[in-house]
Symmetry: C2
Subunit: 94 residues, 2 copies
DNA sequence: TCGATATTTAAATAATTATCTAAATGTATA
DNA sequence: TATACATTTAGATAATTATTTAAATATCGA
């Protein structure tokens, strides 16, 4: 889960997540939303993927990225537990 | 909110939050849970305070830290919005 | 007021992360 | 198969962050 928290600590990466929440997009489409170079965005996508927050799939020439909400929901659980909103507050790791 | 995400990206700081969730503690008590030097913990506490996640209050010789769940709930809202669990999904900043 | 205790601040260094340009890889198509 | 397009990987550098030791600040109690 540490990787997820670290991945979420960057505003560019959080924006990418929000973009992918709307719909799947190619690396190039994602890069167009930012003023950064494509390699930099590629690096951010790699961090998100490594954290398990997104998935990628090659489609011909393109690579399509999509959101994986599984880990996101784990992180959500961390907060719910903490804020007392959650059902169960038993101790977990991290 | 960026400061909050950055503050939460460190495992030591997340552990401090969990410790403060149980009860208020002095800087020294908190430091005792870690193998780091006190100045390092003081630095982490400063980051958490700067992010609005904790509050501190001097009590005589000691400084007592406590959790401020307000910002934590804002971050929680970010996740709820994203995972679709939340009531309203209108666009917000960040 | 002096000495002990609690904590932070300062200054230095090490480690990590972000970003860029240039080069490499993979795919499509003329 | 040569060329163009989409994307990543490599290598370099700059910026940020974490950590330490040493010094400073604040409070307590004799």
């Amino acid at each position: 889960m540490n990787e997820s928290f670290k991945a979420l600590a960057d505003p560019t990466r959080r924006q990418i997540i929000r973009l992918l929440r709307e719909k799947d997009r190619t690396a190039g489409e994602i890069a167009d939303y930012f003023q950064m170079t494509k390699p930099s965005i590629s690096h951010h996508l790699s961090a998100l993927k490594h954290a398990g927050l997104v998935q990628d799939e090659r489609k011909g020439q393109f690579i399509v990225y999509s959101l994986d909400t599984t880990v996101l929901e784990e992180v959500l659980g961390w907060f719910l537990e903490l804020t007392g909103t959650g059902k169960n507050s038993s101790d977990k790791e991290d």
